[in-house]
Amino acid sequence: MHDTNILGVDIFIRPWQDEDNRAKSIKELMDLGVEAVIGDKGAVEAARECGMIVEFLESGRTSIKRAINEAVKIAKAQEQERSREEERRSYLEAAVAERTQELLAMNEELQNSHAGLEAEIADRHRAEEQLRLNEQKTKILVDAIPDIIAVATPDCKILDFKVTKNFTYASDGSSYSGKTVDEVLPPSVAAIYRKNVPLAFSTKEIIAFEYEIQVKHELRFREARVVAMSEEEALVIIRDITDNKKASEEIHKLSLAVNQSPGVTVITDTEGRIIYVNAKFSQVTGYSFEEAVGQTPQILKSGVHSNEFYQKLWETITAGEEWDGEFCNKKKNGEVFWSLASISPVKNLAGKITHYLAIQQDITERKETAKTLHTQNIEIQETLRKLQQTQSQLVQQEKMAGIGQLAAGVAHEINNPLGFVSSNFETLQKYVSRLLEMINAYEELHKRVLEEKIPSLHERAEQLSTLSKQKKLQYILDDLEPIFKETADGLTRVGNIVKALRLFSRVDQQGRFEEYNLNEGIRSTLIVARNEIKYVAEVKDTLAEIPAIMAVGGQVNQVLLNIIVNAAHAIKAKDVDSLGLITISTCADDQFVYCSIVDTGTGIPEEIRKDIFNPFFTTKPAGQGTGLGLSISYDIIVNKHHGDILLESEVGAGTTFIIKLPLNIQADGPLAEIEGIQQ
């Protein structure tokens, strides 16, 4: 069995049966006549003289192997070539870079060389220009320096001397050059130079000294600085410090003045940090100079002022304006004090604020005094007001009392003639009555003579009849009775008025508490007030039987008059056509007698009711009311009689006043009190 045939060669393919005896198997195969044994890996395990097969079998592998070898060789050759190429390129690149660098360096060197030359030339030009400018500047500088600049030798000979404007010389400064200090300066000053100039040469240091010199009758202060420029020459700079000296003295004096000032002085920077405080500050606040400096004025903050207060302060002073006001500050020990402060910005010559200056004055005592004075002033004003009120009330009462006395006086004066007029009138009535009887008798006789026609008397009787008619005798006789009646009524009314006036004024009472009948007081008051009432209101009185009380009748009547007249005015103010009504009634209980006076007037608004008993409060037009009537009434009833005045009112409907007076003022003791007051 063969598996394939190649070029007439049978090829059998079999697996190895015994791997371990591979050589033995191959020999057995060869013994069996197999031309060749080819292993599973393609290798010829054994072969006879059959070169074609071997060649065949080997040729494929050989071709592959050869190709691989060739490829590998080519690849290696290519690799080597690439390596060589890389090396050559690297070498060339390095060579090019090196050369480029060399060229660049050469180029740079060349440029530098060129530029250096130019720069050197430019530098030289600049240096020359700079030198020229420096010389110019130095000259300007030297000219501008207000000091004298001189050059001196070690033996104080002046080699050069710069004349300076506004510098007062002892002699003509321009002629100093070439002279020694002894020749141009007073001996005392020359001696100072003789001492210090050689010192500058020996020490090689700047020697500074001051001296005084009399120049044209004026003492000037000079400051000199000497510095050796070489072994032979020294620069001498002389400055006139007279003004500085004076300013310094002024500053010193000012500083002393500020420090010893009785006012607290604080200087801060623009951030508000304290940089200076005077002795008074330490004395007032308790903070020493060292403690205060570096702090802000907030260390004095008492908490009394609001942030807005401080904000406004800062706004004012940072705007460049002065702030004036009062501070409440706190001392180091916590005690507060008041100060009157003035804070001003301090500006430099450019107008820029550099510091703030605060000058404060301790006004705590003044403040307390002012507070005390204010309190006292208020108290005095209150006392004055009360005095004025009392005075006004007294004046009013005095006026009322005067009017009462006047009324009483008038009443008394009227009462006397009224007495004999009334008496005569009664007598007259009696006489007329008798005359009438006689006239009637004569009339009877006259009638009889006429009726009986007695000749001797008839004519005379006729004449009498005529005369009687002419004289209207009968009319007169008929009118006599009403005349007498009206006259009697008139006299009675006059008598009542006089009596009422006397009762109203109670002048005989002299402010004493005596028995008083309130009803009688009302009646007499109504008579006195009749003229105020009769055209505006009717009066209705319902006066109950009430006991008499102890009172100052004249004063109670004054109260009644005030309230009744006010009622009439309130009704009049209502301005209605019809008459209003004033109702007066009295009553009593076991403690008090009461009198209510009700009117139908305008009423009193709620908002002013609390004020109507206050002095000088009035709703009447100016000049028509003093505002004292009700306040006096209140004083009389409440304070003097321990009673009360009550008020009810409705706007548009009317007002009710109720006067309440104690029945037994003696038993309770108020009378004693009142009498005590009166004494």
Partner: protein, 83 residues
Amino acid sequence: MESVLFIAPSQTIADTAGKIIAEMGLSLPVEVGTNQQALKIAVSYPDISVIISRGGTAEDLEELPGKTIVGISHIYRRYLTPC
């Protein structure tokens, strides 16, 4: 030797080539492919500069620029003519 690629036209040759390469102590990539397929394989190895192949496939690979093609001159299959 990563610069040599073996593109075998058959798996048998690829196996044989693999064995030979191993025997030679080399380490070359071996791929199986013919003609256009072989071209794609070759392109997928851009770092390879030498390609081993045979016959028409080798001729096709000659078109690749920059690549050296080494052809297998004889191979036993040429002799494998059916009886």
